[in-house]
C-alpha cells in the first residue's frame, strides 16, 4: 500500500486543515463543485468535510456515469436482451439501476435474461469467443476513463474477426457537461448554482490532460484544480482553490501532477479518435440534452455498433415521480431535499440512480452520513411546520 497510505496521513491532513482554517475568509462562502463521483465518494469515505470550515461547501457534480445514464438507454439495453436475445455484458454497478416499471438488469437476469457482469471489456470479448452462435453486446458506459478500454475491445474484435461482438455505446464527455452546468443559469436562472471553482477529475484527466479545462478559466472565469482521489489530494486541492479565490486569480492548476499532464495520454486519445466520433447531442439524466457531450462508434467500425446492428423501438421512459436525482445531479439540490431519501429510497431499494452507484451523491450521504442527514431532514420538517403555525 506504499504510495497510497502516504496520501491518507493523519498528521499531514491536520496540517493542511489548519492551513485551510487560517486562510479562509470567514466573511464569505466557498462553493466548490467536485465534478467527479470518485471525489464525492472520497470526501464522504474519509469525512473530509469534518476537516474544512463550515463555510467551505462541496457541491456534488454529475460525474457519475451510472447516475447520468437516462432511463431510456437502460430500457434499450433491456430490449437488447429480451427482444434480440443477446448476451449483455455489463460492469457490475449498472445491474441494480432502476429502469422503467421498477425493472433493472438484475431483475431481467433473474427472469432468465442473459445478463453477465464483467470486470473488463476483455472479459466481454471472451464471452463472445466462447459463444460464437450468440450475439454478445457490451454495455459501454463511462467518462473518458473507461472509453479507451472499450475502444481497445472494438479494435481487438476487428482484428480477431469476432463478428458476434458489438458495443452499446453510452460513453460521455466531461468538459461538455461542465460547460452545460455553467450555461444553465442563463437558460433558467432558478436553476443557478453559484460556483466558485471546480475540483477537476483525476482519472478522466489522466486520459484527456488538463488542457481541455482551460476554457473554464478563459471563458467562464472559474478556477479549476485537477485533484487526485486520495483525501490529502482533496484537502490540498481545496486549499489551492481557496488561494485562487482569495487572490482573485483564475487558472487551471494541477494538484495531481504525479499522474496528469497538460497533454494527457495521447495514445489513448488517438485510439479513441480512431474508433469513436462525437454525437451532436446526448440526453443526460438531470442535464437534459447536452450538445457534443457523448461518443458514438464511427461508421468504419459500424459492424461493432449495437445501435446499428439491432433495431431499437421508440419508448416513452419515465423517471420515478418526485425522485430528485435530476436536480441533485446538477448540484441544485442535496439528497436531504428529496422526499424519497431514506424513506422509500435506500441502496437496497433504490428509486433513482444516485442511490445505486457507489459514486452517486445519495448513496454517499446514505452510506457515510445518514445519521446527520436524517437529523437535518427532521429539523427542516420541524422548521416548515413551525413556519406554517406562525403563518396560521
Amino acid at each position: 500500500m506504499k504510495y497510497v497510505e502516504e496520501f491518507r496521513d493523519r498528521a499531514l491532513a491536520e496540517r493542511l486543515a489548519a492551513t485551510i482554517r487560517a486562510e479562509v475568509d470567514p466573511a464569505r462562502d466557498y462553493n466548490f463543485m467536485e465534478f467527479c463521483g470518485g471525489h464525492t465518494h472520497a470526501i464522504f469515505r474519509y469525512g473530509v468535510q469534518d476537516l474544512v470550515p463550515a463555510n467551505v461547501h462541496f457541491v456534488h457534480g454529475p460525474g457519475c456515469p451510472v447516475c447520468i445514464l437516462p432511463i431510456r438507454r437502460l430500457d434499450d439495453a433491456i430490449e437488447l436482451v429480451e427482444r434480440h436475445g443477446v448476451i449483455l455484458c455489463s460492469y457490475g454497478d449498472m445491474l441494480r439501476v432502476p429502469a422503467s416499471k421498477r425493472r433493472s438488469l438484475m431483475s431481467v437476469k433473474a427472469e432468465g435474461g442473459d445478463v453477465r457482469m464483467v470486470y473488463s471489456t476483455l472479459d466481454a470479448l471472451d464471452v463472445a469467443r466462447k459463444n460464437p452462435d450468440r450475439e454478445v453486446v457490451f454495455l459501454g458506459i463511462g467518462f473518458e476513463t473507461t472509453t479507451p478500454p472499450t475502444a481497445l475491445a472494438i479494435r481487438q474484435a476487428e482484428i480477431e474477426g469476432l463478428t458476434n461482438f458489438s458495443v452499446f455505446c453510452n460513453h460521455v464527455l466531461t468538459p461538455a457537461a461542465i460547460r452545460h452546468i455553467l450555461d444553465a443559469p442563463e437558460i433558467d436562472p432558478a436553476q443557478a448554482v453559484r460556483l466558485d471553482g471546480f475540483l477537476g477529475p483525476s482519472h478522466v484527466s489522466a486520459v484527456i490532460g488538463s488542457e481541455p479545462y482551460e476554457f473554464l478559466s478563459e471563458s467562464y472565469a472559474k478556477p479549476v484544480v485537477i485533484a487526485g482521489f486520495e483525501p490529502l489530494d482533496v484537502l490540498h486541492s481545496v486549499l489551492m482553490l481557496i488561494r485562487q479565490v482569495n487572490e482573485g486569480r483564475v487558472a487551471v492548476e494541477n494538484q495531481y501532477a504525479r499522474v496528469v499532464t497538460r497533454e494527457g495520454n495521447t495514445r489513448a486519445q488517438a485510439l479513441v479518435a480512431e474508433i469513436f466520433e462525437r454525437r451532436a447531442a446526448f440526453e443526460w439524466r438531470g442535464l437534459g440534452s447536452v450538445p457534443d457531450s457523448a461518443l458514438s462508434i464511427r461508421e468504419s467500425y459500424g459492424a461493432f455498433d449495437a445501435e446499428r446492428r439491432f433495431a431499437l423501438s421508440a419508448k416513452t421512459s419515465r423517471e420515478v415521480k418526485s425522485c430528485e436525482c435530476p436536480a441533485i445531479l446538477r448540484g441544485v439540490k442535496k439528497p436531504k431535499d428529496c422526499k424519497l431519501f431514506g424513506t422509500v429510497c435506500t441502496p437496497d431499494n433504490p428509486m433513482g440512480s444516485c442511490m445505486v452507484s457507489s459514486e452517486g451523491a445519495c448513496a454517499a450521504y446514505w452510506t457515510y452520513r445518514r445519521a446527520e442527514t436524517l437529523a437535518e431532514m427532521a429539523a427542516d420538517r420541524a422548521c416548515v411546520a413551525a413556519g406554517l403555525e406562525d403563518a396560521a
Binding site: 469515505r45 469525512g47 457490475g92 435506500t346 452520513r369 445519521a371
Partner: protein, 353 residues
Amino acid sequence: MSVMESIDREPGRRPTIRPDERVTMSHGGGGRATAELIRRIFAPHFANPLLEQGHDVARLERPEGRIVVSTDGHVISPLFFPGGDIGSLAVHGTLNDVAMGGARPIALTAGFVIEEGFALADLERIAASMGAAARRAGVPIATGDTKVVERGKGDGVFITTTGIGVVPDGVEIGPDRLAAGQAVLLSGTLGDHGVAILSQRQGLEFGTTIRSDSAALHRMVADMVAAAPGLALLRDPTRGGLSATLNELVEGTRLGIAIDEAAIPVRGEVASACELLGLDPLHIANEGKLVCICDARDAEPLLAVMRRHPEGREAVRIGSVTAEQPGFVRMTTAIGGTRIVDWLSGEQLPRIC
C-alpha cells in the same frame, strides 16, 4: 503446518482412491455403495468413539451446565482455497458459532450433499481435512449423513455442520448485556478469508500470498471466559464483515458504537486487493476472528489473554460502545474525519463460506 501437510505426513493415511473414481447416484442410495463410501472415505478420517457406537444416533453423556446448539451450511466456491477448504471451514465455522455463546464445544455433526460425478479423491481430501480439523480442535464428529444429487443440481459438495456445546455457569453472553462505556476488541486482521477466496475466483485470479484465516477459536474463548466471566458479548465477523457484526448489535437499540479506523489491523496485501477491487475490508468475511465487547477495565487483561493464542496475536481495542448517535456505528477515519460504517448493500461476493 497446514491441514494437507499434516495428513501427508501421517503414514497409513495414503489415499487408496483412484483418480478416475467418481461419486455416483448409487453412493447416495442407502445400499451397499453408501456403506462402502462411508467405510472408505469418512470412517477412517472421522474415527472416534461416538461414531463407532454404530447407532443411528450419537449418545452423549449429560454435561454440567447449559447446552447450546448451532448449525451452519457451507457452500463455498472454490472448494479448496489458500489456507483451507470446505472441510476445515465447515468444522471451524460451527465450532466458532458455538464458542461465540461462551460455550465449550463437545460434539459436531456433519451432513453432506454431494453432486453426482464429484471426484472421490477430492471428497477424500475434504474428509481428511475435516477429520484433522476436528481432531486438532478436540471435538468429535459424532454423527453424519450423506446424500447424492444428480449432476448439475449441486456444486461439487455442500456440507452442513451442527455443533453442541456447554456454557459454564456464570457466563451470560448476549446483546442485551451491551452498555455505554464498554470496550470493543478485535482479535486480529480483517478481510483475509474473503480476499483469499476472491483471489481464486475465475476471471479475477490474482497472484497473492494471502491465506484464509479459517481457524477454531474455542480455546482462546475458553481462556477469555475464564479471565473475564462477565464479558458481555462475543461475535465472529463472518459474512458481511465487521460492519455487519457491529451494525447488527446496535441497529434499533439506544446504543451506538464508535471505532477508530487507524486501530483496525488490515494486512497490506488485503488492503491493496481491496483498493484495486473497490472493496472495503470492513465488509469482507473473516473465518478466524472474533469481536469481544467487555467492561473497559477488562479490556487490557482480555487482550493479554487473546495475544497468547496464535489466533489472537494481533488483538487490539478498536473502539467503544456509546450512548451517542444510537443505532449507528461511527468511525473516526484515517485522516481524522468521521463517517458511518454501514452494512454492505447490494451484492455480497457470492458463496464465500
